[in-house]
Structure formats: structure tokens, C-alpha cells
């Protein structure tokens, strides 16, 4: 989809919002990593005598339908919802970058074939394709992560390929190749810096979607398995008890929102600062 976009950047300063975003993300990541010390009890500890308790001093977020601590589950839930999402994005970025570099450096036929494959994957709405892959692999948190990584891989591939193509045609690169330096080494030395910036921006922007999608897939019941805590799964369970314990759905939803907000703020700020032409989302 090509359209002439006014490429005039107004040279906005690096917003302090970027730092806020980064801080938010780091805070959430730390909270999930440090969960054992922050949580009042284990997230899978069942207490049948104290089910669906409203927020109190001992349990600031109340308890769920099996008496488990909602606070603990939100903290530990970040591991499934946030850490795994980040892993998926990294996998997509690395895999996509490899594929894109290959396509950009490869002869025409291979390049064309790879790009055809990439186009085929891009033409389907990403969530539908991810769901189809889960349909094949079966439900599960890591299956969902693999599915999302596969679905986001094409964007990174396209991006890397553009950078490689632009770089390889630069005069000094051609000169270096002509004077005998290994093509691969030359590309690596000159492409890498250019690509890393663009890839980082794209990764931050993609991360927002992947966090939402991963939690959403668990919400649909196709992701995490009980009793592992996960924000999406918590929302699905909270829904069954919407009548009797409406507060249960507030914390996990807020957690997802905060994580996505952090990713978006960071991504936007990086994009503005680096002035890169990364595609949105």
C-alpha cells in the first residue's frame, strides 16, 4: 500500500513522555520479576473459605473465585502477559531481521520469492492469522507467543530489507565490495547500525499490539492454562462473576492498559527522535 505521505517531520523534541513510557514499562517488568517479594501470598494459593472477597487491608485487590489473591495474580500475571509478549516481539524482530537481510542481500529470484511469502502473511488481519496458527498448534501460552511472533515477523522483514537495499546501493559500500571486502561483512558493518534504530522503534510499537493480542487470546480461552496467572485469563474469569464481584475485572484490565501505554509512549518518542520511517503498528 503505497501512498505519498508528507514526510515533513517537524523535528519535535524527544518528549518527556518517552521517558515516562520507558519508566512505566520498566516498573511493570520489575513488578512481575520481583513478584515473589511484592505479593502477599502465592498466586496459586487457594483459600476456599475466602472466595470473592472485596478489597480490604490484607488484600487490596480482593480475592478471586477460589480465594486467591488478586494482587498476587496481577503481579505474577505480568510474567505471562508482559514478559512472554516481549519475548515474542524479540523473536519476531530477530527472525524478521534475518529474513529481511537475506532478502535484501540475495539475488532477485530468492528476494522475490521471500517477499511473496511475506506479502501473503501480511494480507490477512494479524489476529485472524494468529488464531489460525493457534488452531493448528492447539491452545497454550507459548503456542500463542509463537503465533504472534510469526504474524509480526513480516513487518520486521520488510523493514530490514528496505534498509539493506538502501544501504547496499550506497557508493561507499559498492566501493568497499569492489575493493575486495566480503559482501556480508560490509553489509553487516554498515547496515546494522541503520537497521537497529528502525527495528527498535518498530519493536516498541509492535509490542503494544502483541501485549493486547496475547492477553486477548488468553481472554478467549486459547492461551494460558490454569492455574497460571495471566491478565487476559483473569479478565475472562472476572467476567463470569461480573454480577457478584465487579471489582475483579478492574486490575487486570488496568495492567494491560498500562503496559500498552508504556510501549506506545516509548515507541512514539523513539520514532520522533530517530526520525525513522517505520510503519505504524
Amino acid at each position: 500500500m503505497t501512498a505519498p505521505i508528507s514526510a515533513r517531520r517537524r523535528g519535535r523534541r524527544l518528549h518527556p513522555s518517552g521517558a515516562t513510557g520507558a519508566a512505566l514499562l520498566v516498573a511493570l517488568l520489575l513488578a512481575s520479576l520481583l513478584a515473589p517479594w511484592l505479593a502477599p501470598r502465592a498466586p496459586t494459593e487457594i483459600d476456599l473459605q475466602r472466595r470473592l472477597a472485596p478489597p480490604s487491608a490484607a488484600e487490596p485487590l480482593g480475592t478471586d473465585e477460589l480465594g486467591r489473591s488478586t494482587l498476587a495474580r496481577v503481579l505474577y500475571g505480568g510474567r505471562a502477559s508482559l514478559l512472554v509478549a516481549v519475548a515474542a516481539v524479540l523473536a519476531a524482530a530477530l527472525g524478521g531481521a534475518t529474513l529481511g537481510a537475506l532478502a535484501g542481500a540475495a539475488p532477485g529470484r530468492l528476494d522475490a520469492a521471500l517477499m511473496r511469502l511475506v506479502d501473503a502473511l501480511l494480507i490477512c488481519p494479524p489476529l485472524l492469522l494468529a488464531l489460525a496458527i493457534i488452531g493448528a498448534l492447539g491452545p497454550g501460552l507459548w503456542h500463542a507467543a509463537i503465533a504472534l511472533a510469526l504474524v509480526e515477523l513480516p513487518v520486521f522483514a520488510r523493514l530490514t530489507r528496505s534498509v539493506v537495499i538502501v544501504t547496499r546501493d550506497l557508493p561507499f559500500v559498492e566501493a568497499a565490495v569492489a575493493s575486495g571486502a566480503g559482501r556480508a561483512r560490509v553489509l553487516a558493518r554498515h547496515v546494522l547500525p541503520a537497521a537497529v534504530g528502525a527495528l527498535t522503534v518498530q519493536a516498541s510499537l509492535t509490542a503494544g499490539f502483541v501485549v493486547t493480542a496475547l492477553a486477548g487470546i488468553s481472554f478467549l480461552g486459547l492461551g494460558v492454562q490454569p492455574p497460571t496467572p495471566d491478565w487476559g485469563d483473569m479478565l475472562a474469569r472476572a467476567r463470569t462473576h461480573l454480577l457478584t464481584a465487579p471489582w475483579l475485572m478492574l486490575a487486570p484490565g488496568a495492567a494491560v492498559t498500562a503496559a500498552v501505554l508504556g510501549c506506545n509512549l516509548l515507541g512514539d518518542a523513539l520514532r520522533d527522535a530517530l526520525g525513522s520511517p517505520a510503519a505504524r503498528g
Binding site: T44, E45, I46, L48, Q49, R51, L52, E65, L66, G138, P139, G221, Q225, P226, P227, R239, T240, H241, L242, L243, T244
Partner: protein
């Protein structure tokens, strides 16, 4: 194609207008879109809930498991191997064709035919031959005699379909039941219209609308708002939330369902009976029942629900005793064993499975849950690699043979016998029970069989369900026997509130 659609729309319009003019339409909910309205192809209880209004079975279940006439108004056994059925006169299918012995024979054969792919084929597998005696009489021959056949013929999957019915029956059902097919808006609702020519007399209701509402919470909201007049299988928390609400009645009924923890008795760790008994002692069934179900479940009294004929109904031989559990595990050398509990995504057993996991881990095991959609769950739990699983069985015919045979007879290994339990003596008991007429002797046989199950523990009963449904006070005359899909609306009526159709 377009013409058929016009006809469907027209029928629906007529149905709605008629109901507005004449009587009330009952609106109730289904948890999922039915897969088929062909009783020989339907699998799930909610599909049967609909087919039970469209079709009739030869026999019906009454209170306490009594067998009542259905399409067959009388039956007898001229010889032990022969079940003679006398059909009602003057019954017609919704398309006008008459019901006779030939039609019934054809329907039963269709059910048994592997090409139909019916999961209910086993119900009539014991029939070796069908002999037409006259227009309205037929003999079902089973050698050796198969006593549970009578009860099996009350099961919805054995309902009678018109002769020559093919796969199109799934979307365009034609039966002999009190309601005719109106329309099916896929994923949204199934509309049925009263059949004025029904052999049992025209139903007081003008029609029934089954709305597909997957979320229990959503069903409850719609029910409270008056959009639904009847909802089934109300979960315990919601039941209590509804108690005392004006204009609403809550009904509890004895149910034929029991939930179990099933063991693969050929598994290297689980094959040791001490391990299975240890797990039984690790679980506090009364607390589980009290906390998760209040009075909507009963602590286990044996493998079969108390409603089932000859159910054991005795105190739990494995009371909660974590110390004993630990000791048994030590003896068997199974401390720290890693195991999986397999679970299907039906949702209702989710909480139970998590409580079980916590209980088993508390006595030193390392148990993880594995949740899968039903086809994958079925594969996992019927293969050689099966471990533990949580599920429930309904003894839907209220005859003890139904569940014990499907779940625990050795011939079902690889199929429904996920425990891979193979004991020749137990098989012999079941076969004897199936060939013995009801009476003291049959009772003794099934008592022995159930005691054997509780000693060997291929499956551990966890609790017996109590059936629930909630209705608006204007609804009267409905009948539910043993299981939510055995919903009988022939005599149901909706008192008009302010006039107009009873559903939105």
C-alpha cells in the same frame, strides 16, 4: 436457494405473528450453537434440549426413573430375547407422513449404521434383528437378552426420524414432537412453533425460542431483565444471587450426573492402587462441595448418582486424611511424582480441577493442569499416555448399565473407557446385570460391581450434581427429569403478564 430462504423467513414471520396473536413464546438459552438438530448426529446436551421438542422417543423417563410410554404405548417381552413394542395410532411426522413400525425400524437402523456416524449407536448395538409384526407392532431381538434396552430407548439420541432422512435433517428437522421447526439463525437462535396436530394434544405454548448465549453471566442478566423465562444449570454463585428475587422461582431437582477424577490404571505410577487411594484421601470432598457448590452438589456416595437405579449410596470409604495419603505415597514410592490432570474447556470443572491440583500438591505430588478443547482432550484421555482427568458422566437412562458399561467395560478401551480398566470379573458382572431382569438379583449384581469400582478406583467420584433451573413465575407445567436436556414442554404454559409475546 433464495426461494427456500424466503420460505424460511415467511415461516418465521408467520410463527412470530401467530404467537403474538394466539399465545406465548417461551424464550430460553443455550450455552452454544447446536451442532445438529438431527438426533442421530447431535452430541451435546444442549442440542438434545432442542431435539427433544422436535422429536419423540419410543419411551420416556418419568419421576424416579420410571419408564413411561412415548411413541410406544405398550411393551412386553413374549420371550426373554424379544422386546415387543406397540406403537401409538394416528401419529404423523411434521411433513404429514404416518408413523408406523417400518418407519421406527428404519430409524433405529439409521442410528446403528456406522455411516451415520452417530455417537449414540451403542445404545441400540445390542439389537440383533428387528421384526415387523404388523403396522404398529415390532419386535426387537437381542440375544443374549439386553435388559437396559428399555431404558436406552428413552435417550434422546434414539428419537424416531422420518424414513429416508439424510444429512439435511441436521438443519431442517422433521419429527413427531410437540413443536415444529420454525427457523435457525445460526449462532443466534433456534425458533420452534407449536404443532397443533401433535398426538398428545396441541401444546399451550405458541412456540419456543432457544437463544444462543454462551456466557452464563449474560444468561443471568437476560433472565433478570425478563428477556428469558427459563435458564438451566444455574451456577451456584448465581443461584444464590437470585434467591428471593420477586417473580422468580428456583428449582432444584435430582440429577443423574456425577463428577469424577479418572485414573489411567495402566500408567506406570497410577497402576499402583495405593497411589490412587492416596489421592482419594488427599481430597476433602465435603469441603469442596460446601465451598464451591453449597447445597447444589452432594458428597459422593458411590460411582453412581443416588437417582440411578441400584445406586450404592454409602459413606465415602476414603475420608479426607492427608497423613494417610502421604503414608500411602511413601509406601508406593510415589512422592514427588509429576502428573497431569487433563481437563476439557467446558469451564464448569475448571475450579474443581484447580482445587484438586492444590490438594494433591499439598500431599507431596507435583501435579499440573492441561486444558484442551474437547477433541484434543478426548484424544489425550483415551490414549495409552493418559494420566489423570476430571470430567463428569451422566447416567442419562437412569439404568446402572449405561455409565458403568461405557466407562469401565474393557471393550470400551480406546474409546470411552479412558481408565483402561480391564477386569474380567467386573466385565462379567456387567454382562450378567444386563441380562437379568429387575429385581433382587440384579440389585445384588450391581452392588457388587459398584463395590468393586470403589475398591479398585479406576475413577474416584467427587460429588453428585444437583440439577438447577430458574424460571419466571408465569411459567408452569414444564418438566425436567434427571438432566437439563430432558426438558419436557408439552404441558408448559406462560400466564400472560400484560399480553403480547413473552419474548423479545
Amino acid at each position: 436457494m433464495a426461494f427456500r430462504r424466503c420460505v424460511a423467513v415467511a415461516t418465521w414471520l408467520v410463527a412470530t405473528l401467530t404467537s403474538l396473536a394466539l399465545g406465548q413464546v417461551l424464550v430460553t438459552a443455550l450455552p452454544l450453537n447446536p451442532t445438529s438438530l438431527d438426533p442421530h448426529r447431535a452430541i451435546e446436551g444442549y442440542s438434545f434440549m432442542v431435539t427433544n421438542q422436535l422429536y419423540d422417543t419410543l419411551l420416556r423417563l418419568g419421576e424416579g426413573g420410571a419408564i413411561e410410554p412415548g411413541l410406544a404405548q405398550a411393551w412386553s417381552r413374549p420371550e426373554p430375547t424379544v422386546l415387543r413394542l406397540e406403537l401409538r395410532q394416528g401419529v404423523r411426522f411434521h411433513d404429514g407422513r404416518p408413523l408406523d413400525a417400518e418407519a421406527v425400524a428404519a430409524s433405529l437402523r439409521r442410528l446403528a449404521d456406522p455411516a451415520t456416524g452417530s455417537r449414540g449407536a451403542f445404545l441400540v448395538a445390542a439389537i440383533d434383528d428387528i421384526v415387523i409384526v404388523d403396522d404398529l407392532t415390532l419386535d426387537l431381538i437381542s440375544d443374549p437378552p439386553f435388559v437396559p434396552l428399555l431404558a436406552n430407548l428413552t435417550f434422546p439420541a434414539t428419537a424416531i426420524v422420518p424414513p429416508g432422512a439424510g444429512p439435511e435433517l441436521a438443519r431442517a428437522p422433521i419429527g413427531t414432537g410437540p413443536f415444529r421447526f420454525g427457523a435457525w439463525r445460526d449462532g443466534d437462535a433456534v425458533e420452534l412453533v407449536a404443532d397443533p396436530d401433535y398426538w398428545g394434544g396441541p401444546p399451550p405454548l405458541a412456540g419456543v425460542r432457544f437463544r444462543v448465549i454462551p456466557e452464563r453471566a449474560a444468561q443471568l442478566i437476560a433472565f433478570r431483565a425478563g428477556d428469558l423465562q427459563l435458564i438451566h444449570d444455574v451456577p451456584p454463585d448465581a443461584f444464590l444471587a437470585l434467591e428471593g428475587a420477586p417473580g422468580i422461582e428456583l428449582v432444584r431437582y435430582p440429577s443423574d450426573r456425577t463428577s469424577y477424577l479418572e485414573f489411567n490404571v495402566q500408567h506406570p505410577i497410577l497402576r499402583d492402587a495405593r497411589v490412587r487411594r492416596a489421592m482419594a484421601h488427599a481430597i476433602d470432598a465435603p469441603l469442596l462441595v460446601a465451598a464451591l457448590f453449597r447445597d447444589l452438589a452432594l458428597p459422593p456416595g458411590g460411582p453412581l448418582a443416588p437417582l440411578v437405579r441400584y445406586a450404592l449410596n454409602e459413606p465415602d470409604p476414603y475420608p479426607y486424611d492427608p497423613e494417610r495419603a502421604r503414608a500411602l505415597l511413601r509406601e508406593a514410592g510415589a512422592e514427588g511424582a509429576r502428573l497431569h490432570i487433563d481437563l476439557a474447556t467446558d469451564g464448569d470443572l475448571d475450579d474443581v480441577a484447580q482445587v484438586l491440583q492444590a490438594a494433591l500438591n499439598a500431599v507431596g505430588l507435583r501435579v499440573e493442569l492441561r486444558v484442551n478443547e474437547f477433541p484434543a482432550f478426548f484424544e489425550l484421555t483415551t490414549s495409552e499416555g493418559a494420566e489423570l482427568s476430571v470430567g463428569f458422566w451422566g447416567s442419562d437412562t437412569l439404568d446402572p448399565d449405561f455409565m458403568l458399561s461405557i466407562a469401565l467395560h474393557s471393550r470400551e478401551i480406546g474409546g470411552n473407557n479412558g481408565s483402561r480398566y480391564a477386569e474380567a470379573e467386573f466385565d462379567a458382572l456387567l454382562e450378567l446385570g444386563a441380562a437379568t431382569e429387575d429385581g433382587a438379583e440384579r440389585a445384588a449384581v450391581y452392588r457388587a460391581a459398584q463395590l468393586r469400582v470403589m475398591a479398585d478406583l479406576p475413577m474416584l467420584p467427587l460429588y453428585h450434581h444437583v440439577g438447577t433451573y430458574a424460571k419466571r413465575a408465569e411459567l408452569t407445567g414444564e418438566r425436567v427429569v434427571a438432566s437439563s436436556f430432558q426438558l419436557d414442554l408439552r404441558a408448559a404454559r406462560l400466564a400472560s403478564t400484560e399480553g403480547g409475546a413473552g419474548g423479545r
